[in-house]
Each structure stands twice: as C-alpha cells, then as structure tokens.
C-alpha cells in the first residue's frame, strides 16, 4: 500500500481465527490499512491478502508482552474468540483501553454460514470505520460487538439476499482500493517484531520455544 492510501495511517491487529473476523480485517487491508494478522504458531491463517502475517502464542509471557506492544501502536483490534477468552487472557476491553486510550476493540462471531459471516463482517467494518474517526480525534474508545443474528434481524425484509461480493463494497475517485497478496504464515515475523525492538537472535530463541 502507498503512503497515500486512505487508511494508510490506520493500524489494525487481527487476532481472528474464524472467517468473519478475517474477512473484516481484509476489508480494512483492501482500503489501505496496515493490518497485522496474528495467528498461533502452526495454525493456518485465512483471508490474509494484503495483511502482514506474524505468528505469536499470546498465552505465553513473551507473547503477551509483544501483543501489548502491538496494541500500543494499534487503532483497532479484531477478535472472535469464544466468550470469556479475552478475560481469561487478561486482554479484555478495560485492559486494552489501559494500554491504548484510543483503542477500538471489535468482537464478532461467525454466522451460521459463510454468507452470514460475510454479512456480519461488512457490518463490523462499517461500524468500526465510523467509530475510528472519533476514537482517534476525540479519544472515544469503543468496544464494538457484532452478532450475525442481530445484523440479519435488522436486515430482515430487505430486498436482498445478503450476497457480499469479493469486489470492493464501494468505490471512489479519491478512496483507494486494492487487494494485496496473501503472505505465508509468519512471513513478517522478523519485520514486525524487529520494529518492536526484538533482535534476530532473540526471535530465533522464541521460535525454538514455540512462542512465535
């Protein structure tokens, strides 16, 4: 993405494991945001086109510390863990907000089918894009919770089948849209963790420990 991309100065941490969260993260990447997809070492992340991919086990002490450093630099965190997971990891909204005052946490779950997940992802993208502007300018942090069921109930009766295309949801002469390539899992470990001040030899050690 170029410096001039619309969301070039928006940083998104994508912790999602399911389809909806990953699709939402990719919409941000499509519009130029810097999206870092974090996956567990050994897991196969999906829909990572245009994102940077790092592996990190956030349940380890080191993993947790690196995650905190990434949250400090982020505008948006996307997650789709089972209820209570964030709390048990100590990274629920109040903790994230304490790390980064202007943070937006997006919690969404997969729908009954892929179409429902795509629809929930589009809803999450819209809500987050609208909240981002004031979260940053006026320090109004947000925990946005999206349920596919409620999104569909709100859409009930519409002349629509909730078909969400892979193409851009909207175009503009000034707002850029581009789909990047999919990285391999952990392709950007050295780059992203290097930016956080983790030297190469330490990264190798973390890899041996299975933390990254």
């Amino acid at each position: 993405m170029t410096e001039e991309s619309t969301f070039a100065d928006l940083r998104v941490l994508d912790l999602s494991t399911g389809f909806a969260g990953a699709f939402c993260g990719r919409l941000f990447a499509d519009y130029g945001a810097e999206v870092v997809a974090i996956s567990k070492p050994g897991a196969k992340p999906q829909l990572t086109e245009g994102k940077r991919s790092v592996t990190l086990d956030i349940t380890t002490r080191t993993g947790r510390l690196l995650l905190e450093s990434m949250v400090e630099k982020a505008n948006v965190v996307i997650e789709d863990f089972a209820d209570g997971t964030l709390e048990s990891q100590g990274i629920a909204f109040p903790q994230l907000e304490a790390i980064k005052r202007r943070i937006i946490l997006v919690s969404l779950t997969d729908g009954a089918d892929e179409e429902a997940s795509r629809f929930a992802a589009l809803n999450a993208f819209a809500a987050t894009a609208l909240a981002a502007f004031n979260a940053d300018s006026h320090e109004i942090p947000q925990h946005i919770r999206i349920s596919p069921k409620e999104c569909m109930a709100a859409a009930g009766g519409f002349p629509s089948s909730r078909v969400i295309e892979d193409a851009p949801p909207f175009i503009s002469s000034t707002v850029e849209w581009a789909r990047g390539d999919a990285p391999t899992a952990g392709e950007h470990n050295a780059e992203v963790f290097g930016e956080l001040g983790v030297p190469g030899d330490e990264l190798a050690k973390l890899r041996e420990e299975g933390a990254v």
Partner: protein, 206 residues
C-alpha cells in the same frame, strides 16, 4: 464525558425507500441526519418498515428538482458533512463548491441492505480520509451481481430463510453494540416536513 461516535456530523439524507437504511445507521451512531423528501414523500411512507428505516432522523420537505429547492439544498449542504442521494439526483459539484469537505455518497434508491451498509462504511472511510486531506470524497456504492440477487418485493415479510435463521429476534435499534455510545432510538421516523421550521429556520435566519 459521554459523546456519541458521530456527534457533530451532519448528514443530508435524500435516499428513498430501502436505501434510507444507510442514514438510519449514521443516526443511530449520533449523527444529525436530515431526511429530505419531495412533496410526494418517500415511497415507503405508510409501509411497516418506514419507521425502522427512518428513526433517528429529522424530516424536511424540499423539492430539489426546482431551482429554489436546489438553492436551499446548496445552502444546507454548506452546513453539512455528508450527503447521501441516488445517482444523478443532485449536482455534486455545485454542492461541494461551497463546502470542499463535503462527503457525497451515491446510493441507488433500490439499494440492497449490504449496499446501504457499504454506504455507511464509505462515510466512515471518507471521514478518516478527510481528516488527512481536508477534502470530501465521492463514494459510489457498486451494484452487486444482479444474477445472484434474489429480489424480495418491498414491504414483504421476513423470508422463511431469514426467519428460520433469526428466530424471534426483532431489532428496532441499531444492530451494532458500541460502548460509551447510545444506539437507542432518540427520534421516531419524522412526518413529512415535521422539522422544516427547525432546520430551515436556523439556516435561513428567520
């Protein structure tokens, strides 16, 4: 301090029928949304879905197909951040002349729900962009593939598919839950010209 996400954002909503959902979502998040209708009114007026498509909006009657109407719209746009209108229904260039930061969203009147949500997303992206560039974008919501679209007639009840998946859940308020932000209904869908005096009075200084 308690602030809504889109406080101090003013939206002129000329989107009729189902496309009015985009403005509803912006209103839910705290934007001041002014629904603008010609004297004939929104085609869905009187239909059961009108309320949920148009809650959290002010209502003004203004015929933008007349010269006087266009002049008032231009003056109103000079106070606004966002205009949502069907393609070709407004003169975007003349509106932006007096308001370089104006975000203009082109949304078909027969928009699908995903197009209406895309329009709302586009406003979010454009607001972020405007902070950097100082200029308003024009957002065009693209048409989804019509072959894949199963059209349900306007005003039709929930389809069996949707009811089966959704069950008894009925949504009257915004489907998005945001903290530190009230997404409840502040305003019912306005009557035609309900807020003409309130909005135009302030604008025209009378």
């Amino acid at each position: 301090m308690f602030k809504q996400v889109l406080h101090a954002v003013r939206v002129l909503d000329l989107a009729p029928g189902w496309s009015a959902y985009a403005g509803r979502l912006l209103g839910d998040l705290g934007a001041e949304v002014i629904k603008i209708e010609a004297s004939s009114g929104d085609p869905l007026r009187g239909a059961p879905d009108f309320e949920r498509l148009n809650a959290n909006k002010y209502g003004c009657m203004l015929d933008v197909s007349t010269g006087d109407g266009r002049d008032v719209l231009r003056r109103l746009a000079a106070t606004a951040d966002v205009v949502i209108a069907p393609p070709g229904s407004i003169d975007a260039d003349s509106l932006r002349d007096g308001r370089p930061g104006l975000i203009i969203v082109s949304l078909p009147g027969d928009a699908t729900v995903e197009q209406a949500i895309s329009a709302a997303a586009g406003v979010g992206v454009a607001l972020w962009d405007r902070r950097r560039t100082g200029e308003g974008s024009t957002i065009e919501v693209t048409h989804s593939d019509s072959k894949k679209r199963r059209t349900i007639p306007a005003g039709a009840p929930l389809t069996e598919t949707v009811s089966a998946l959704v069950g008894d859940l009925q949504i009257e308020s915004c489907p998005w839950h945001l903290s530190e932000c009230a997404t409840h209904i502040r305003l019912h869908a306005p009557a035609l010209r309900e807020h003409n005096e309130y909005i135009f009075g302030e604008l025209l200084g009378s």
